[in-house]
Symmetry: D2
Subunit: 393 residues, 4 copies
């Protein structure tokens, strides 16, 4: 037998439970959240409901209280969660917490696990990942990292400016990337630090007014002014920050793809349902050729994106480092889902850009997915370089 793409029965069971939970619990709250935002109390309420529904944290190891699903299985479940923009948050598999849980699980000391990982997994707190900096700092080019961690009296002083830090407003702690920690003088390389947002010197300096609205905690500008931490705040090895962050990047790209694939499927479903029910020029809209083209292209993009995603998740789940594979998947799926959502808006016509139909919100929120986690251009450059290197041999 060559391949086996059969879904495990437990995956099927969870998928159904998630679908029911999203339909019954999450979707009914969407409109209010779109209009007024989500309070932290409502977040906890939603998450409690998810726990009660048996759909809590599918991608988290079972010993930590999650579903314990492998990355390729998670592909099925996080897509389902993503069918509401609030679904991943409800299931505690949303960015940035989901990636931070993964990173903490890989590198945290027992003390760090108790202090940061456990409450994060349980939904008691939220977190953020503070790597990106305003130009000319670390963005598409991480080597430009400008935030520094200087050594003083066996402790670290972290200073710098971060921006577009998703979820920072209301987060209990951050994983901060800063220059230093490697080499004999500890001034080489980069290091990941666990920093409480209540630490002196940590300052939230405003939100970027981006057109997406459903990300809890916003995209914040953070100023770190000699934030002092001890060695127990170092996540993993000092000086190994870039390498450690890599362990987060490839799977985090894929979980983004999973969630947005769900959102794109939702958009397509909304538009399709409307097209089936609406009469235009004497026939159902869904029967008109140009509408059929929009519908079919959506079906094709979703199928191709899902096939590539499942394959890539399987590769990572079975040990591949997956840098190149996940780059390809990220570019394809971020662009394919954007196309799907754009076509769905078009198919829905005049109300296509409205929040009432949800489509407008998905359209606005998905735009930056082609930019964050490595822009399409950055990934393409990296893919082409690897291909050229292979061809040169």
């Amino acid at each position: 037998m060559a391949f086996d793409l059969t879904l495990d029965p437990r995956v099927v069971q969870w998928r159904e439970r998630i679908a029911t939970f999203v339909a019954d619990v999450v979707i009914p709250r969407e409109q209010r959240v779109f209009e007024q935002g989500l309070t932290d109390g409502e977040r906890r309420e939603l998450q409690a409901a998810a726990r009660a529904a048996g759909v809590w944290a599918p991608q988290v190891p079972r010993e930590l209280g999650g579903g314990g699903f492998r990355l390729d299985e998670a592909a099925v479940l996080l897509e389902e969660a993503g069918t509401s923009l609030l679904g991943p948050l409800a299931l505690n598999c949303s960015a940035p917490d989901e990636g931070n849980i993964h990173l903490l699980h890989l590198f945290a000391t027992p003390a760090q696990r108790a202090r940061y990982l456990v409450p994060l997994v349980n939904g008691d707190v939220r977190s953020c990942f503070a790597m990106t900096e305003p130009p000319p700092g670390a963005g598409s080019d991480p080597a430009a990292l400008a935030t520094t961690a200087r050594r003083r009296d066996h402790r670290w002083l972290i200073s710098g400016v971060k921006h577009l830090i998703t979820g920072a407003d209301g987060a209990a702690f951050a994983i901060v990337m800063a220059r230093g920690g490697g080499g004999a003088d500890l001034d080489q390389g980069a290091t990941l630090f666990l920093v409480d947002t209540t630490a002196p010197g940590w300052r939230l300096d405003g939100h970027a007014r981006t057109i997406d609205r459903t990300t809890v905690g916003g995209h914040c500008r953070i100023v770190l002014d000699d934030v002092e931490v001890g060695d127990d705040a170092v996540l993993g090895e000092p000086g190994e920050g870039f390498r450690h962050a890599q362990a987060r990047l490839a799977p985090a790209r894929l979980t983004h793809c999973m969630r947005w694939l769900g959102a794109a499927r939702r958009a397509h479903g909304i538009a399709l349902e409307r097209a089936v029910g609406r009469q235009l020029f004497g026939s159902p809209l869904a029967g008109l050729g140009m509408a059929q083209q929009l519908i079919a292209d959506n079906e094709i993009d979703l199928a191709a994106g899902r096939a590539l995603l499942w394959q890539t998740a399987w590769q990572l789940a079975t040990g591949a480092r997956g840098t190149e594979e996940s780059s390809r998947a990220k570019v394809f799926i971020s662009e394919a889902t954007a196309r799907v959502v754009d076509r769905s808006v078009q198919l829905a016509g005049g109300m296509g850009t409205s929040e009432e139909l949800v489509l407008g919100r998905i359209y606005a929120d998905i735009r930056s997915f082609r930019i964050y986690d490595g822009s399409s251009e950055t990934h393409r450059m990296s893919i082409a370089r690897r291909a050229a290197r292979r061809a040169a041999h």
Copy 2:
């Protein structure tokens, strides 16, 4: 000599004045409006400033106090006004008032001109155009018009539901399309009515929560419940509503193209300036090949769109009915400007979807241009049918 595309000196002069006005007066107010919206007082203030700057209402006949420019000249000036999302409003050349002024100028009686056209041209009031209805009513297919005007006691009773009526909130009056008014029994065809929004039976039933935000007066749902008007409220001939509306449609499509071309140029300019100033991987971002591709494709789309727009505006200005020509231009320019804005967002990176950089706002606001004023699909159907008819002969 074959062609002459030389700009008239007066056009050049107005273009420069508009550019200065937008830069000095309009753009400084953008961020506040993005955050808080625009009050009617601010609108009047902006418009007073435009009048003072000698850039008032370029497309309006001189005898009414406007610039008196022909449609092909207006193409140059409305593009310039469109470089701020608030520019057209400031110059009183924004939708829907601009198209309503055109329609009133064509068909209004002297009394209607005094009561509706003059205050509208002067910016004393705003207006709306109430044609679109929720499905299964008049949308892509105007023939599905469901709002009715019934004759009673030599007066008209208008009833129906309109939706996505841009600018309705705060408008002083509406041009309403309703079924009836033609034929012996006055129950055939359709008629355009001038309806005060204070009329008994007119009710604003909420705003569509679409992702665009800079349209003053929103996109409203209107319920008309036996709104009673006299014959003096009929605009043009009773029963000729569809034909009269056609006179608005083709030029209104083009003025939309003009304004959005300006917005797309602005987006490109913002992204380009940023790309020139930003270092990435050791070179200016604007010097990287994939950034160059985004930049060049923007330049090409803007140039092709403008060439097609100028040609089409010239055709309409010199007497062509221009249904097919303006359909082609509308599809091409609505899609080309969307591409330009999308590329600009991409080029600007992490802040590309923010209001601070303006790009996020343009991105969200331009989306529905491929839908309203005839969706891309509706225009394509119409273009293909005409082409097929020609080929069949």
Copy 3:
């Protein structure tokens, strides 16, 4: 464990053998064949070499002398064979013989197997599949089938015109679709007939001068003028021609995708190698950003196409009927491979359209893949209809 996409060791072994065979035996003959065409003697020679190399007929059941690989395994091997336009012919897995073998294997009687299937599998003869007719006959719409099989004296008289019959020139026999054979009077439905091309009344009426050149036996117009056959010429059940043909269609679509995926990979490889070796503006061409975009997009399209193809082949191999799945895969892969080849031509520059670089030949030959085996439009219509039906429930 969720998925398993591990390649079976035997698949890996065959893939390597095929790669070596194509590189050592097939590719060295390409240029001569491009210039002068392929004689039947050369075809037999190539096929003998394939048999000697242990790469004969991967998709054919082992009891018939082939590799016995399942469809999802064949996906790997037929892609490898497709890296030369002559490879599939050499391995006897090219269209239309490969699909005909599949069909005969499913439905042929023992006598038909001996007479038609065995020599076809062995490469002693070639065959063709005569379904398509010139408009207004059977094309995108099989229901328009105009060729008839009339019953006379317990025998069948087949009359009609077929066109674009690939491989007909030099074929020993054809599988002919004709109207009739079903219902009480045998004049309903359609029937598949095995017809010797030496039969009286069978006439090859010329070749379509299409721009592809490497298809042995051309794309022919066939006139059938009362070709008389007995009941032993019926393949499967009389009247069940459409249903039987379906059994050929879905897998045949996929094997086309496999072969063209190989051709597209070859094109990409040629262009990439050239881009790596060529200096332009003081850097290797492959290091310029716009070239990187072409390269990366090729890598992405190939990966996405392959993932979708493998998944779809697995679905069919494990019992799915796969009509919709194979439609989606066919549209995506025919368009993705066309994009890959087009970009490769572009990347190769001035010689990109030449046969010397092979790219020009692949470019010309691949064009019709978006048309035959169901055009992109036909498949999209079918995909959209199914999606709409699902949404309506």
Copy 4:
């Protein structure tokens, strides 16, 4: 009045004459030429017919015997000529002779005019333009020019290899670009030379086997081995070759656009006529939505391309250098016409890639237009650089 895009009556008259000539004289010969190529005798016959029809050399100054039309007028006429792939040759407005006539007219001495320009204008001889070299020589990057002109005994010895020299086989002379001629020692810059193809040392070293077929004289490899010429062979100033060649490049790009626009229009017309006449799924093909999309997109691309071309031609005709404008037009039109032809092939279905329907030939022949005369990538790089320079100020 702002613009005037009215066609001059003489342009309209010539356009009609050309349309009639192409329909009556050129198109009837296409199929034979596609099958067997064009002899030089047939070329002269066709050209004599064009002269007799009063459509000879529209773009050539009247004093030389041509139509004397300005570049923006020629846009209309060369498009019409281009509706047959043989039309431009018949009218003596095809590449490379048309560009060479332009260049000779600008820079030739009276003696050179008599010897080269007059017979070329009259169609007594053909010519070629020998600039492109195999990598790593002059291609996208002219600075890499490797062919040299060395000074010896007051004469020049030209040595080097050129490739893809269109029309070289059968040409009477070439305009050759070679390094040298400038500076005090005459070894700087580059110089254009008029070289007879009968000169000792000039050798035609084979044809590139590209997929286009209708270019008379092929795309040849030329070896120059100490070809000796005198100072009277220098075209323009020695050392000014690059600058002189620029005078050919921008207008030659546009005339290519004009001719291919005609070919694309022809392709669209063929496909549309077929779509109107063919029934599919119970309706005319042209009435199906996806076919309408192909048709409408063709109409839009043709209109946008034509508008941009006319505007750009007017800019060059009225004195603009037009480097950037013609780059934008070249990229847009080469890609738009390629899309039009590809859609036309798709719309025509099974016969879409055939020579019988002409579409297959246009499809194969137009592909290299995105590569020669500056590839899309080279132009985009140049456009982006200029835009970035402007933005930097």
